[in-house]
């Protein structure tokens, strides 16, 4: 994003809406910190700039990668889904993406609202690749992994995004190993991350992974996303 200094009247509306606090008023003009700006376009869409001083710029790589990980209106070429995620469990009743003896994970670096450099994702992907997880092929983050060892494309590692989701699944018996990685990196990363766990529900209504999560000292929030099985092929 760019703010045209000659048009800016210093109202500060863009400063307020910026999710990453990348815009400041300096000498009564709004100035974008290019390093902190994640190219989410929130200022462009929501600040209602009275002098139309906020402009979108034509982005080039590597900076271009910030946009699909930050702007919900940007549809990633790989997923076809607007935003930074995938269909994950939302269509699981027809896609069967997560099976009965599998557990899906979404580790979202930078959420909620802090942002992250893409290089932080590599701390996870290296450990996860070593244990042989199946990364979600349609995930925008998976597209940045360049080898079987889980390395992220080098020139993109310093790019700042609002959040990036590492999506993968494992056989049920490897769930504990993933939880150990989460505990290890909890103490090592220099931003926040949020974790979601996807499980099929047993015929009798049980969700067996809940017991394992409790054994490993993870708290499960009382609210969840629930696919109620209404989809048909």
């Amino acid at each position: 994003m760019k703010i045209k200094e000659d048009l800016c009247i210093g109202c500060g509306q863009c400063v307020v809406v910026c999710p990453t606090r990348a815009i400041r008023l300096i000498d009564n003009k709004a100035v974008i910190d290019r390093d902190l700006c994640v190219e989410c376009s929130t200022c462009y869409r929501s600040a209602n700039c009275p002098s139309k001083a906020i402009k979108k710029e034509k982005l080039k790589m590597p900076r271009l990668v910030r946009n699909p990980f930050s702007d919900m209106m940007a549809t990633h070429k790989l997923t076809g889904v607007a935003g930074r995620g995938t269909e994950e469990m939302k269509t699981n009743d027809v896609s069967g993406r997560i099976g009965m003896n599998e557990i899906g994970f979404s580790i979202e670096i930078g959420r909620p609202g802090i942002g992250a450099r893409l290089g932080i994702a590599e701390k996870f992907t290296l450990l996860l690749a070593r244990m042989g997880v199946e990364f979600e092929k349609a995930s925008p983050l998976t597209a940045l992994i360049i080898d079987d060892e889980g390395h992220i494309q080098e020139d993109l590692k310093n790019e700042m995004v609002l959040s990036a989701i590492i999506e993968f699944k494992v056989p049920y018996e490897k769930t504990a190993e993933v939880l150990d990685i989460i505990k290890k990196l909890d103490k090592e990363v220099d931003t926040v991350f949020s974790v979601g766990v996807i499980s099929r529900v047993m015929e009798n209504g049980d969700i067996p992974v809940c017991d394992l999560l409790a054994q490993k000292d993870f708290s499960v929030r009382p609210n969840a996303k629930i696919n109620v099985g209404l989809g048909k092929i």
């Binding site: 889904v81 990363v189 993870f218 092929i233």
Partner: protein, 194 residues
Amino acid sequence: MTHSLYRKGSIEDLKNDYVIISMLARGINDKSPEVKKNHLRLGEILKQHNPTNLLLEAAWKISTVIQGCFSDIKDVREILKTIKEEDLGVSVVVSGLISEVKNVCDDIGLKMHTVNLALGEFGKKNLLPSEKTLEITTMCGHHCVSSQSVEHYIDQIKNGKISLEKAAEKLTSPCVCGIFNTNRAKQILNELTN
């Protein structure tokens, strides 16, 4: 399209906050005209049951997702019951209290198929704003509602420059997905300014 999983608040608070998301499966049923017609019908059903927010109708035809936000579990129940009765055959996800959604499913004869559980936040949590601020900002699935806009409107309300209703509307505007619960935002702002 949106991440409604990480909404925050106490159990009592979350009793007034449900998101319904319906998504077509890419490469499976997203190209079927009949399924698309059923999907649009689902949008109409959402519209008829008191949504506090809803994806813009203009986007329904071009999107594989239709979603809305609701404050009353009774509306969620009626929506699911109608979709089941009309046998629309499209995938539906309810985001909300597990116990409440399970009760509704049991009541109308649905079986939960898959759950996405939230384990919360990890890492440098000292970077995060207050829990109450997060209750508002996490209602935008893509986190486009900034914590400083919450602080800004709290100040404005306290100084009598804006009403609670208007501030809640202003906070809703960056969330184009239609899942930011404007009613709940108003309630939280009320708590924070009294």
